[in-house]
Amino acid sequence: MLRGSFSSIREAFGKTLVSLGEKDKDIMVITADVGDSSRASYFRERFPDRYFNVGISEQDMVNFAAGLSAVGKKPVVVGFAMFLMRAWEQMRNSIGRMNLNVKVFVTHSGYSDSGDGSSHQALEDIALMRVIPNFKVVVPADAAEVERSMEVVMNDKGPLYYRMGRDYSPPITSTLDYKFEIGKAYVIKEGDDLAIMGAGVVLWDALKAAEELERMGISTAVINVPSIKPIDSSTIEYFARKTGRVLTVEEHSVYGGVGSAIAEVVVKTYPVPIRFIGATTFGRSARSQRELLDYYGITAKNIVNASLELIK
């Protein structure tokens, strides 16, 4: 299934949400006053009766959605990643504990809200969400994967956290042909000497790094791990065994995030050396997400350097 209608993550989200709403009348969209910024507003325009802006009230939003799901609706909670964390306890104690069918779709994660600075840049949310029992966590790589995965996600039953950025979406999966499944990792590029694994838009940097490494004679695999929980243990183990070295990359703190989740699998199945590329502290303001990724060293160059260290 090739996908490539959108070049912006949130555009892909907003438009795909409308098309899912056409098919399923139980889908309700709930936002805390970020309809326009998240593009949930497209759903509001098409289905005003199934769209609820609760105001700037994330805690209430989460429990309101929990209540809707208790009477059989399919609520989609939409907010900024950072401010959903303010309702972490509600997600844990209501949605998670009662195992309710609520989908939490966040935008503006990572450095994507570049201008607003560190108050708006969620670099901890994957760590926080993957520890909640019953919650699944999905991090799409690009706009094409958003378009490809949303229906699968909506048809899954139970709590799920879906993490997106804003517009920045370098092409990663648009030319690939695969069917998205929760719990699966996907090989974007084969390789024998080293496996780079990760999730999100930074996989583009991983692919650039792999090209550079190939030029140096290092055969490098790149694995897209959009499903952080449940995670595809067998693919991760397979590549740990095959290459003997793993490097993880994420637009998130290296503490507790994508890299940690992958490392947990590696140490349990086939322990090999691992390096982690990601954030280590708060972000800051910049003119673009790309600038911030470069500033904090989540770049092809750094991936190459860390890879060379792993190889020697």
Binding site: D49, F52, V54, G55, S57, Q59, D60, M61, V62, N63, F64, A65, A66, G67, L68, S69, A70, V71, G72, K73, P75, E89, Q90, N93, S94, R97, M98
Partner: protein
């Protein structure tokens, strides 16, 4: 569906006496539960007995259809022993389970969980029941169901920020099928509400936000039932401020911040009363 008995129908003396008997048995069972577990919130539970009795035995219509039945959300989840004692009166929880409250081998948790028969929402973290209730009430209204939602909160619980978020939201949704009940027992965990954070302004605030505000005696089943029947017909979100006492009917702790006493004192009380 069982017809709600309260709507506009006067309650007979006989019925009131029957409800009082149920309350008395539930009250004794809550006091007795502390023989088995020393950490349950007896005082907060005794504050809720009559409200739960009136709702569960006179107001709430039970059914397996989530859209055409009433929902009971105990947002002040620490009063779980009272809910369990009344679920036992309903025949949903066997007596031997009451004595296994908080036991690792029992089903009754320290705070309500939906895996316990008769529990509509897992609670325990304060301030979350009203938002959930608004979601349920909105879903019911969208489906044109007849179900109503009752949310029981504490006065201390009103300190939570989410209450403000939900209180203002309910008015926007116009959930006229939801009744919030706030128990004004005057105590929160550390001290009296006066000492911690005064609550006298609350009815004015709820009214100003757009709720229909009622008051009742939270230990008088007739007062509770007649007020609830007015509230369900108010055509807007309504809130009942119920005057209650922490530890009501158990003199060693009544109207104090103490949640419980030593088992011997409780045993003596049960023998003498």
């Amino acid at each position: 569906m069982e017809k709600g008995g309260s709507d506009g129908i006067p309650i007979s003396l006989e019925e009131i006496n029957k409800l009082k008997e149920i309350s008395n048995r539930a009250r004794r069972n809550v006091i007795k539960m502390q023989f088995y577990d020393q950490s349950i919130h007896v005082g907060s539970s005794l504050s809720s007995i009559e409200i739960l009795t009136a709702l569960m035995f006179k107001v709430i219509r039970y059914s397996s259809d989530p859209l055409n039945r009433d929902w009971l959300i105990l947002s002040k989840g620490h009063a779980a022993p009272a809910l369990y004692a009344l679920l036992h009166e309903k025949g949903l929880i066997p007596e031997e389970e009451l004595w296994k409250i908080q036991d690792i081998a029992g089903v009754l948790q320290g705070h309500p969980e939906t895996f316990i028969p008769g529990v509509d929402m897992s609670t325990g973290s304060l301030g979350q029941g009203l938002s959930f209730g608004i979601g349920v009430a909105t879903g019911i209204k969208m489906a044109k169901g007849t179900g109503r939602v009752f949310v029981i909160m504490g006065d201390g619980e009103q300190d939570e920020g989410e209450i403000w978020e939900a209180m203002t939201h309910a008015v926007v949704r116009n959930v006229d099928n939801l009744v919030a009940i706030i128990e004004m027992n005057g105590f929160q965990l550390d001290a009296s509400t006066k000492e911690v954070k005064p609550k006298d302004f609350l009815p004015e605030v709820w009214r100003a936000v757009g709720w229909k505000v009622f008051h009742c005696d939270g230990h008088d089943v007739a007062s509770i039932i007649s007020t609830v029947s007015e509230a369900v017909n108010a055509r807007k979100p309504s809130v009942i401020f119920a005057e209650t006492k922490r530890g009501k009917g158990f003199p060693p702790i009544e109207d104090t911040k103490r949640q419980r006493t030593v088992p011997d004192v409780a045993r003596q009380f049960l023998l003498n009363s």
